[in-house]
Amino acid sequence: MTTDVAVPPALPPGPPGGGARPRSRFSVPGGTALGVGSAVLYLSLIVLIPLAVVAWRSVDQGPGYFWRAVTTPDAWSALTLTVGASILVALINLVMGTIIAWVLVRDRFPGKAVVDTLIDLPFALPTIVAGLVLLSLYGPESPLGLNLAYSRAGVVLALLFVTLPFVVRTVQPVLLELDKEMEQAAASLGASPFQTFRRIILPNLVPAMLSGTALAFTRSIAEFGSTVLISGNLPFKTQVAAVNIFSQIEGDNTTGAAAISTVLLVVALVALVSLDLLQRWGSRRG
């Protein structure tokens, strides 16, 4: 998928079109109620009720059971690997994503348009294909002689692949709109390029960099398809949380699977809510 798919959670949840626009004189309240009812029903049947049942199932047999399910050695190891790898992946994305966005906006070289288009490829590529693609270059038959299959490095690589566009696509538009005159003023007052970057450019980019990083993090902790093939799903070594949930479902232990799922949902929500708070804090600072 392209960025536009990824960015929505980061958008401030303001009501689109509400507020300023005068109420349409032609909206029929009855029709609105019917429409809202259908939309809510659709959302409830497919998304809300099933997710609520997952949360319910995880605590159904008491908090003690939930805790035991989350702290079984293989589940706990999968969770810590997932969160650890996701933090690492988010940090690498923070640096590399910003560099790539910088190069795409400020640099000029032949083939730049192609590079710019390619950035979205990880969103468009099915995750299982992403995993297969990485395995063919960094697997046992690697032409580079670099075998990362069944290792934690392989998991990190897969996560880096699927999260590549997040930081690039959030930083890029901000960089495009950045006023170059501020930088010129700083330079004319004797600032070194590094000083200009640190004091002028970076403060403007930080909110976008953070929101891209948070999105990359939430995507990483949820990721399944791309890690299936390259990780080999070795419990205690390369098994991520989503794969652990999958094997518990296959083993008919839906309560255990629901417990780990709930942990993942809570971590994702915490990340997204802190992102929202950060953005409000950022926009208050102007």
Binding site: M1, D4, V5, A6, P9, P13, P15, P16, G17, G18, R21, S24, R25, T32, A33, G35, S38, A39, L43, I46, V47, L48, P50, L51, V54, R57, M96, I100, V103, D107, T117, L118, I119, L121, A124, L125, P126, T127, I128, L132, V133, S136, L137, P143, L157, F161, L164, A222, F224, V228, A242, V243, I245, F246, I249, A257, S261, L264, L265, A268
Partner: protein
């Protein structure tokens, strides 16, 4: 100096993470010419997987398009209590792991769940069958059409729709002749994104389909199953076919993306 340094870092990173792996798989697929590629994709299992994928994707796209346009109109043109909440909840599927999507649907629509059991007694099997796969696909692709249409609908304003009303058009007429033409590119953009996501979904479908070969196997499941069974040519061929669909999607969205 710094300029070339950054450019080199960025290009090398993208080359080794993105270009080389994708290039290599295309190279390995077509290394022996087009013949093996076509052969692998025309086997009975592959053709069946194609059909299942298309059926599931088309149902999911149809459902999400109707929901997406309807909800976008509600969010932009109407006022109702709980609008902010509805707006926020639409993005929820983006934060949910595909495996959790599958588990959630099994817990509600599985054979041993209350709702699933009831449907089963009416002769409708949801999990391990097409309806469940459609539900899973609808779930993961749910926000795409709404999010594509909302900004354009906002920008469009409702002046023309109101003019149509004063000239005696019914709500349906105004929608078909004024609103729909106004949002058609944004809608096309959302539908393309939704279709691509639906064709490529793996995790959620893997859970709810039961991965029954030649029954509920989609193309992405086919890739995984063939690879695990050491049938690399078939896995690579199907993966390349999916990658080509992804590239076409990318180019189409590039064309359709709302400017500015």
């Amino acid at each position: 100096m710094a300029k070339y340094g950054l450019r080199t870092i960025a290009v090398l990173y993208l080359f080794f993470l993105l270009v080389l792996p994708v290039g290599l798989i295309i190279w390995r697929t077509f290394g022996d010419g087009l013949g093996p590629f076509v052969e692998a994709l025309t086997s009975a299992s592959a053709v069946h997987a194609f059909q299942v994928t298309l059926t599931v994707a088309l149902w999911a796209v149809a459902a999400n398009t109707v929901f997406g346009v309807g909800t976008a109109v509600l969010l932009v043109r109407h006022r109702f209590p709980g609008k902010r909440l509805l707006n926020a909840l639409i993005d929820l599927p983006m934060a949910v792991s595909p495996v959790v999507v599958g588990l959630a649907l099994i817990l509600v629509y599985g054979r041993f769940a209350p709702v699933g059991g009831l449907l089963e007694s009416w002769g409708v099997q949801v999990i391990f069958s097409t309806p469940g796969m459609v539900l899973a696909t609808v779930f993961v692709a749910l926000p795409l059409v709404v999010r594509a249409v909302v900004p354009v609908l906002e920008e469009l304003g409702d002046d023309q729709e109101q003019a149509a009303h004063t000239l005696g058009a019914s709500r349906l007429q105004a929608f078909i002749r004024i609103t729909l033409p106004g949002i058609r590119w944004a809608l096309a953009y959302g539908v393309v994104l939704c279709l691509a996501r639906s064709l490529g979904e793996y995790g959620a479908v893997a859970v709810v389909s039961g991965r029954l070969v030649d029954q509920t196997q989609t193309l992405t499941l086919f890739v995984e199953e063939r690879f695990q069974n050491f049938d690399q040519p078939a896995a690579f061929a199907a993966a390349t076919a999916l990658a080509l669909i992804a590239v076409i999607t990318l180019l189409l969205t590039k064309l359709l993306r709302p400017k500015g």
